[in-house]
């Protein structure tokens, strides 16, 4: 049994990091921090996607009943309600049709963050995965924007307010700046997630070095990094929340319109009232 655990640990360390390819030059210095290799990222990503799918498959059991009785189904229902509240609060009444995308991103990021608590690495602790989902999210925002106001209308939205024809250089400048800011959204989304999760790993690694010089057995082998666990758990939830929140904000920016305004106000107080501070 112990051999099995040891082998699994060796496999995780060897197969998922660049240390295997670099031929052991990785060692001291950074104190065990290693970026995931391509194969390692795939292993982690598909393991987490598989975990979510298995849980969902079990949760599907009581879906046809009038009252949801399954414990797992109730958990997922609560989570869905939470994300839906967030989404409808920011985007407004028509935000429900973006729920599949937002909920998928939420589940993937949240479960990856939870995995990052227990494992040496995780998809969200790797910049490439984060950049991938950020590109996906921003690409989806462009797609929805084009679907909502037409291709030309969506590009016109980048050009800012309507100015007199003499001020066309300013419109061009606004257009370029808006395009740059649109690209920078990818960077900010991905780097925030990566920084928080990977920063947590590095902080834990650095704190584990603390007692190394001590002669006391207890102090020498006490995992000081584990004391960071509560704040890392908080980071898990908050980072998944912020990613979805910003995704909702970007969606609401491109799909918010005059003809939708009436629909928003008709849907109730909290939709319209919450939409405003977020969109400014």
């Amino acid at each position: 049994m112990q051999d099995l655990v040891l082998n699994a640990q060796w496999f995780l360390a060897e197969a998922t990091t660049h240390a295997a390819e670099a031929g052991g030059e990785h060692g001291g210095g950074h104190g065990g921090h290693a970026t995931l290799s391509f194969m390692g990222l795939m292993i982690y990503t598909f393991a987490i996607a598989g975990l979510i799918m298995i849980l969902m498959a079990f949760a599907k059991k009581g879906l046809k009943d009038r009252v949801f009785k399954g414990r797992l189904l109730q958990y997922f229902e609560q989570l869905h309600g939470f994300v839906e509240n967030l989404c409808v609060g920011i985007i407004g009444g028509h935000g429900r049709k973006y729920m599949p995308m937002i909920y998928t991103l939420w589940l993937m990021i949240f479960v990856s963050n939870l995995v990052a608590l227990a494992f040496p690495s995780s998809p969200t602790a790797d910049l490439s995965f984060n950049l991938g989902i950020a590109l996906l999210a921003i690409g989806y925002v462009q797609w929805e924007g084009m679907k909502a106001n037409g291709v030309f209308g969506h590009w016109k939205h980048f050009a800012g307010p309507k100015l007199p024809i003499a001020l066309i250089p300013i419109t061009l400048m606004i257009f370029v700046i808006e395009l740059i800011s649109e690209v920078m959204k990818n960077v900010s989304l991905s780097l925030r997630l990566f920084g928080n999760i990977d920063g947590g790993h590095q902080a834990a690694t650095a704190m584990n070095e603390l007692g190394k010089e001590s002669n006391l057995f207890l102090v020498k082998y006490l995992p000081f990094g584990a004391f960071l666990m509560p704040i890392k758990m908080l980071t898990c939830v908050v980072q998944a929340l912020i990613f979805c929140l910003l995704f909702c904000v970007y969606l609401s920016l491109v799909t918010h319109h005059d003809h939708d305004d009436h629909a928003d106000h008709a849907h109730g107080e909290e939709g319209g009232a919450n939409a405003h501070p977020a969109t400014t």
């Binding site: 780097l191 928080n196 920063g199 501070p277 977020a278």
Partner: protein
């Protein structure tokens, strides 16, 4: 020089986060029923301030040449 620069970045980030937390706490204490409305913009603002520090640490410190 790098630890010093990181410390400076941390000071700035701390001041920014503190200001946001201060204002949000003030608002929430004055108007407890507005907590739900205040939390979302507060989290967004926190995320934006935090990003500056993360940029400093990962981009700035990564490209640092002594």
């Amino acid at each position: 020089m790098l630890p010093f620069a990181l410390g400076l970045a941390a000071i700035g980030c701390g001041i920014g986060l503190g200001l946001i937390g201060f204002a949000a706490m003030n608002g929430m204490a004055r108007q407890p029923e507005a907590i739900g409305k205040l939390q979302t913009p507060m989290l967004i603002a926190l995320a934006f301030v935090e990003l500056v520090f993360l940029l400093t640490v990962f981009v700035g410190a990564g490209s640092f040449k002594p």
